[in-house]
Symmetry: C2
Subunit: 432 residues, 2 copies
Amino acid sequence: MEQTLKRSLIRECKSSSKKVVLLQGWVKKIRHLGNLSFLLLRDRTGVIQCVLENDLAGYKVDVESVVEIIGELVETTKTELGVEVLAKEVKVLNTSDRLPFEVNKRKLQVGLDQMLNERVISLRHERVSAIFKVQSTFVRAFSEYLIENDFTQIFTPKIVSQGAEGGANVFKLPYFQKEAYLAQSPQFYKQMMVAGGLERVFEIAPVYRAEYHNSSRHLNEYISLDVEFGFIHDFHEVMKLEADVLRYMFKKVGQKCEKELNLLEATVPIISEIPKITLEEAQEILKTRYRKESPVGDLDTEGEKLLGKYVKEMYDSDFVFITHYPKEARPMYTMPNKDNPAITDSFDLLYKGLEITSGAQRIHEYNMLITSFEEKGLHVEDFESYINTFQYGCPPHGGFAIGLERLVYKFLELSNVREASAFPRDCTRLIP
Amino acid sequence: MEQTLKRSLIRECKSSSKKVVLLQGWVKKIRHLGNLSFLLLRDRTGVIQCVLENDLAGYKVDVESVVEIIGELVETTKTELGVEVLAKEVKVLNTSDRLPFEVNKRKLQVGLDQMLNERVISLRHERVSAIFKVQSTFVRAFSEYLIENDFTQIFTPKIVSQGAEGGANVFKLPYFQKEAYLAQSPQFYKQMMVAGGLERVFEIAPVYRAEYHNSSRHLNEYISLDVEFGFIHDFHEVMKLEADVLRYMFKKVGQKCEKELNLLEATVPIISEIPKITLEEAQEILKTRYRKESPVGDLDTEGEKLLGKYVKEMYDSDFVFITHYPKEARPMYTMPNKDNPAITDSFDLLYKGLEITSGAQRIHEYNMLITSFEEKGLHVEDFESYINTFQYGCPPHGGFAIGLERLVYKFLELSNVREASAFPRDCTRLIP
């Protein structure tokens, strides 16, 4: 019988025309009641109750063991699913030792460290695995939208000869006879591919920041959703594309992750027009409304949070673009504003009071770029292959990058960005 | 007029209902003939001839400059496209210096080093950018197929505490107070996520091999298309999934990249049944048919090539699975064969005589895994977080990984795998 029956998924059981099914999954729970046992079986698609009677009553199996159950599908009003399985055969495919913590509860009651240390076990909790389903769906939607809009997905090296921002905070490594770094961003390469004639590119890849921050919103390795495109008029076009991409990503997550969003009690935001506030205005709002001083040319964490609150109240928006950062606060490739060259055509996107994106129009003119590098005290010779790009006809262009884990973290209102990373890296965490 | 006209793409011109269009792109060529000039304009979608007459005749602009042209669309029988543009206005958006080599020829006549050193310029050649369009389409199809089949895209760290294969050939780096490595493969993590209940996962990410090979088929950083899935019966199921994935990837490339495949003179292979040959048989065939000896438990480059020829002749197949490698030749997590534990349920996939994949069923039982680690002389304590996974109910599972650049390299019959990497890394190349 086993040979001919093919595995059914639990989500298929409700509407299955089969009478006898073969199910495979993990033992979520087992209860013995007199001459009956109830085994809750979990697979990647759901949970089903299996009734063990007669010889099978009192069946001994450890929670989280992997089992195969052949049984009869029976309609019932007693379970949410509307069907249960009258087990005929139970086979253990692999056993489980006693778990270091329980994963059966509605909410996983375990500290962050243990959740991350024992990732394989915490992932067994439906609310935890749901996070990664949502993440996968975001990524899928991101690339879907861009490919439909004629973008090419690119892959650029993470072992590089210079950090993209030209600053500190880079991981160094010996690379054969040379010294190399881990890329802080694919910035140079995505611009080079735009200039190379692909015009519109995106990349989904890890980036590295050797920062000592040990906050709830920093990771030392994270996934950056990078976009860069040519023939733009101004940086408002870049913000428009980002808003469109996000709108599509949330729409898709709403459609594809209904079950997961219910479990996580998350609702998809409606993104109408995202308000734009210049940095100057933002700092003024913080000062007059919240008596909050900001660092020169920037916002701090507290300021970002207050602005998140402000735009929620004023515009009913979870998002706000902060625009026109001063030159000193932005990298050397950022386009200065035409009317006021002390500020740049740059932006950050805050989501629920947290920066999830930086973006800008970039400098596409060779001489302007050289000047900008020199003003920052950088040695043009160190960036030769990048800078040379702009000698050979680079179109006006811009782009942005979304921090994937931060997006998921804020959307699902997790306690820490590390919860949105399967195996996060921070300055103390290298295992698992 | 410029303000209201929106950019048209060159591919839209043929069937455009517009009389006047605004085009943007690069000057591919300009010729002056008496009181007429002909400017070939290239954007990401194609090339169009623009006719410059009257005041515009003799217009001075350097090749590969970025221009915006407003003009009238006129039908013509003189160009392949069937339309040309009678230019009314030409505006230079950015100039180009004299190129270090010509990109106008039908084939790019430049050595590999210069092609890679001057990537932004070589990418301007349609046959070069077409490579990356094909690559992007492969990746898109890979994830599309897997997501449709209920896989979750995962992202796992590339900074790790051990190399996945536990061997040499890893890049080391200092990670805060610790020593870390760049991941050779997401092997451990993808297995952990299968065991964590996601069951079916894939990852598209760079992997790192610190090898000194400086051959036409090795890269030190490459993109690995990784798949791992649970509840398999045997490793034939793994090979079946890979064949299905590849079939879908080639089908999609055939549909989406018609223009690119024409340019590159590539045809999509028909993948029917992929022949399977055991390593032992393969070695025997090499010996009897080609008088070729193989290294113990493996094939060498020459042997792979000959087998590629053999299956092409015998089965009219570009692909062949080589199966059942001996234990010594495969990593410690590989499932031994039930009937002959000296060999493993593992395979390589050769494509046109080059290995593009390794795959296998993996060990899912804790005690068997411990034994296997110990037999390889590995210290179980060094792999604790991975090995512990198997204490808590891991289903039977297997997977494979496709080297993206190798797939593209062989499909397009490029001269070197480096041509399939925008910015390749080898033991001497770190720039650009």
